[in-house]
Subunit: 124 residues, 2 copies
């Protein structure tokens, strides 16, 4: 399915890259300039994830957050990083800190989802 460029996609991607933080669907719908339907936002975000332009983070609040990929490397081995969710300013940011782990023999990892929750510097 060949992708097409639309105002909606551009606006969402632009917002995510400018924010520099991961955003949830409702935050995007709230903070974006144009009116975009909820289902459409999800579809756009999911396609971005499929294309490796954005990565998805599921927080312990049960919501999905989406972050513009910067060092998520497409060809290179994806180096997983921690995420920090501030319960005060309700943002999620990608941390530099990488996730290191070793698994028991026979286990195969496909996804890594690591989130630290608490209060960020600005809110402390």
């Amino acid at each position: 399915m060949k992708r097409r460029s639309t105002p909606t996609k551009e606006a969402v991607l632009d917002l995510l890259s400018r924010r520099g933080k991961a955003m949830s669907q409702d935050a995007i719908e709230r903070e974006i300039d144009i009116d975009i339907n909820r289902a459409t936002i999800y579809r756009v975000l999911n396609s971005f994830c499929d294309d490796g332009i954005v990565h998805r983070i599921v927080a312990e609040d049960g919501k999905q957050y989406f972050a513009f990929c910067i060092n998520c490397g497409e060809n290179q081995v994806p180096t997983h990083h921690f995420h920090f969710r501030c319960t005060t300013c309700k943002t999620i940011e990608c941390l530099k800190e990488e996730v290191h782990f070793s698994l028991p023999i026979g286990y195969q990892v496909e996804k890594v989802n690591c989130i630290l929750t608490g209060t960020c510097e600005d809110c402390s």
Copy 2:
């Protein structure tokens, strides 16, 4: 609020400890012998979490899983561990592997939720 011992609580806790793996509400309802209302299961699980008898894991499938605490130490400093979710047998298990990280100055962590998803040994 003083806690009371009931057949429901005992059955849920017994199932969790026997399974040795984290279970979701629907899995518990499905695999437990007696009939327990959905809301009740959640209430029981939440109270177990409050009491530190069980710990909660939110997976990237957006669901909550509950695991009987073994080394989650009540008094001792809680040492966070990784969790592994097998998409084949649909189970989540606590790994021995501890989670290590260092945060930027000013950040304060309250919760740690780290999940690796893939295929477990049995299902490989």
